[in-house]
Assembly symmetry: C2
Homo-oligomer: 214 residues x 2
Amino acid sequence: MQIAIVLFDRFTALDAVGPYEILARLPGAETVFAAERTGPLRTDTGNLALVADRTLAEVPRPDIVVVPGGPGQTPQMENETLLDWLRAVDATSVWTTSVCTGSLLLAAAGLLRGRRATSHWLALDQLTRFGAEPTGERVVTDGKYVTAAGVSSGIDMALTLLGRIAGDDHARTVQLATEYDPQPPYDAGAPHKAPAHLVAALRARSRFTPTPSS
Amino acid sequence: MQIAIVLFDRFTALDAVGPYEILARLPGAETVFAAERTGPLRTDTGNLALVADRTLAEVPRPDIVVVPGGPGQTPQMENETLLDWLRAVDATSVWTTSVCTGSLLLAAAGLLRGRRATSHWLALDQLTRFGAEPTGERVVTDGKYVTAAGVSSGIDMALTLLGRIAGDDHARTVQLATEYDPQPPYDAGAPHKAPAHLVAALRARSRFTPTPSS
């Protein structure tokens, strides 16, 4: 089984590394990081680069596709090389997945039409532009499409998927090995839980905030 | 404020990327990935490389030091270049931190003597070899030393630290931006929660399991 994790400039690191850390522990699986060109790709902060070991063209038939999001997702919405690759690999993939605004790339490729899906909470409405049905859940499975909410939710998505593929006990073993027993020191990880003024402040500087009509 | 995240061969990716994703969002902070040599460092699976942009020597006075763990931690226990660097930067750091078996590197450098600390659950006992006092907590703060349990716990550690440095509201904003509202599909993330046979199986193949005396 081959797992392809897509990289592009200004992706969000944890979107990709969360699922990687879980899925790479699938017995017998090969995980490959792929991008338009091989070599280092900078994350959204500019302070970290991950290496793409393969070009997209070199990974024509992955069993699992993972598409991360991040600020760099916006220009990728018009990258026909990437969108064509997503459509092509989706034709034979067993699972097509995304984290955060990666779901907008799947949607822009036409893969989520009529399907339930999720995305970063700030981007959720955007899914309707492409005929997808946004839901507020953290991990959404519709057929072979598994989409996750923002950034850190890729860990939950990958554990869910690992359980489906390798069984509950294997997924529990990976949860135990990665000591994924989360104890956040605050309870502000979703817009309905965080103080309203913090939610409003993030909305105000989001790239998805529509310009208010006057 | 400068945040230095240490890399070495066969580190565990999420140990480093979890804290990075949170701490890099500290206003005005510069995050640098540093290793003995610059260039790509392969993670424990061999399927991913992160780039070290600086040598350790080029980062002589970070304010925050983050040391990840992973299978590659064992040979680093005798890497005097790394241990000397840890001792040197600790002399001026504001916070010295670790994730997973990274705490064994801090301990081997002599920095945790007489201090409460934690590590991956499989390695916890090893801390006593260096005069540290292991605790079962997920994030342990003793003075300026903040150690986290296995792999994924670096996210909780970093949010805790971010709150101390930048205030609760900033930490909550980062939690919301990264949608860190964990909903693991299983409850097996700690040895007291996971089925006993899964705990035993991981212990049996751990590099920290002592050879039983006959």
